[in-house]
Symmetry: C2
Subunit: 378 residues, 2 copies
């Protein structure tokens, strides 16, 4: 066995007493590769070339360390699933280890085209060069396709750029996927013709593994302008496959359902920047929804900043994507969101648009007006 | 809109002060269904029929409560992905909420055939009616297909019942999937002919979304006796699709890579019984690997008992599956494992078989001898 010598780097935060830090880091080097007692490996080439290398280890706080570990590119093969496995497969099961960043090497990075549109491409699609994009959701669950289409029409008429299915809409008896998608796509197209402004309808194509592609193809044929997808339910790689599908070529909005546990505890799981930023980018999302600080959930400002950094940091040819702060945002917080995220974000407001009063179109227009004159950056 | 009235039940553990418990539980009823301010829902049928019902709420400790919430079966549609979404999609993002169990209603349960083999079927396949089954892994990563096949031959000769690929073996340049599977399957079949005992080889078919089925079909054609799959990397529903595939009809061993964050913190995520037991069963695993207490990881005895309960509790027609305690198990702990898990488990020992000395066949036979005379139950 002889490998190329090219390696990629993962950075872990480790919670342990100082005297254990190096041993913990070296255990990760083993666990994520050979997963076998080093002394029992007869082949010196495996010991030297396959096992992770500890590049550096440094204290970052009281009983907190960061370790950079370099893995051979060949260990990750040519597959996102196996890259995830090397980055955090078994070690996810150990307490006190959090993946806080990674850098792919050139040959590994070249395997991942990432988002087809990214920030720039999505701006081009909706022809909004310099303001935050406006997004909302079709809900509540229980409305019929016709009722959702009527809702979508008004939202599009009010100037929303991206109208997504609620992530709770799949293919239920009270709202079948195909009828919903056809009617909502038609309604949004009709409103766009009236306003002269582009509005994309993004149906939820999170589905059983063997139906995802069919639903996405149906959505495309029906005139959907993008797709909503929950990688926590259907897998990050299923999203990658959607993004890579040349026959679809639709932007993808990633929803965080079922992914909460990855980030909730600061000493384990994945950092917000890794999960919502780096991994969603490798998996082809063009924008990523997350619960903003101060909403119904409990993310902090620092976690949201880390997320934005992961969504936009240099990853070679992998495009930056839009952060989509959500989870109970309100019109009266748009100013605050403007100041925090700058102009390169998508603002997602759901229920609060309806809480403004009966004239939903007017409420959407007020939402749009609030985003004019955005500062340049976070 | 008019629904059937049939509901299924999820039980959540909530960490909060007593005065907040009911409001937290009622917030889950909303978050997991309509995700919309209740006062803004005009249609009374949606308020009454779609929103979750709080069936009961009880204190289970200091600032800890359990809430049973009943959801309409129609909300979960006919899809595992959407069932996961209703059970724990958005609420996974909130701190202090853990899903600790669920009961499907009859019509919902009938949609999930679950494991094709389960404990009884897997015992029949390897013709071991009353002892724990023996399992080991092909590793370390870096060995060639020929070296792994030679290893598989000796392990099968020693009486191991299930030989799985290390979960780190996918389709790497140093060990291509097809060559590995063909050679290992052939080696295991040859050893089985010599011993007269059935040994199953389970290659790892965790793969990109659009290649899983092809790899599984290749494995079947090459003579593999089962499949190893990592639902944390490829998705629970992709495993369900494999289990449901009539053309494959192979037992599935589920590996916990990348799933650690779900269970690590007792006040969030999924209980061990839900993730490794109930959800793996709905998703078709016949046996589930997890890190046993006292190994390289940090699960407790209570967590492992909860896991066994989830793997074996009544779920209607969904079969009980084997717990596979692993993660650094050793021959000198077999007695302890016998006492803890009883006979209805699969014992997975990797590196320690190699640490016994150069005669691997003899070490496997000693492993087998240690499992004779197992007590009846946990």
């Amino acid at each position: 066995m002889s490998l190329s010598g090219e390696r990629f780097t993962a950075v872990y935060r480790i919670a342990c007493p100082p005297q254990e830090a190096e041993a913990r880091a070296r255990a990760i080097c083993i666990e994520q590769t050979v997963e076998f007692p080093e002394r029992l490996i007869e082949d010196a080439a495996i010991r030297e070339q396959v096992i992770g290398h500890l590049a550096w280890l440094q204290a970052v706080g009281q009983d907190r360390f960061e370790a950079a570990i370099q893995y051979p590119v060949e260990a990750a093969g040519r597959e996102l699933t196996q890259l995830l496995n090397v980055l955090f497969g078994n070690i996810s099961l150990a307490p006190g280890v959090r993946l806080v960043g990674f850098d792919l090497s050139p040959s590994l990075a070249s395997q991942y085209p990432g988002p087809r549109f990214g920030q720039t491409g999505l701006r081009d699609l909706v022809q909004v060069p310099d303001r935050p994009l406006l997004c909302t959701a079709l809900k509540p669950m229980g409305l019929s396709p016709g009722e959702l289409a009527a809702l979508a029409y008004r939202l599009a008429l009010g100037g929303i750029h991206l109208i997504k299915d609620d992530h709770g809409l799949s293919d239920q008896s009270f709202c079948p996927f195909e009828e919903r998608v056809e009617r909502c796509a038609e309604a949004v197209a009709r409103a766009s013709r009236e306003t002269g402004q582009t509005c994309l309808y993004l149906p939820n194509v999170t589905a059983p593994a063997d139906e995802i592609t069919m639903r996405a193809q149906f959505a495309k044929a029906a005139g959907a302008g993008g797709l909503l997808f929950c990688p926590g339910l259907s897998g990050l790689d299923a999203m990658r496959a959607l993004a890579a599908d040349e026959g679809l070529a639709l932007p993808i909005l990633s929803h965080p359902a079922f992914q909460g546990a990855y980030c909730l505890h600061p000493d384990s799981g994945l950092s917000h920047g890794v999960l919502f930023g780096q991994l969603n980018r490798l998996a082809g999302a063009d924008a990523v929804i997350f619960p903003n600080w101060g909403g119904r959930f409990a993310y902090t400002q620092a976690e949201c900043r880390d997320l934005v950094a992961g969504a936009t940091r240099d990853m070679g040819s992998v495009r930056p994507i839009f952060p989509v702060p959500a989870g109970g945002m309100r019109l009266d917080r748009v100013q605050e969101l403007r100041e925090f995220y700058g102009r390169d974000c998508i603002l997602l407001i759901g229920g609060d648009l309806h809480a403004q009063g009966p004239d939903l179109v007017a409420s959407c227009r007020r939402f749009a007006d609030l985003t004019v004159g955005f500062p340049d950056q976070c």
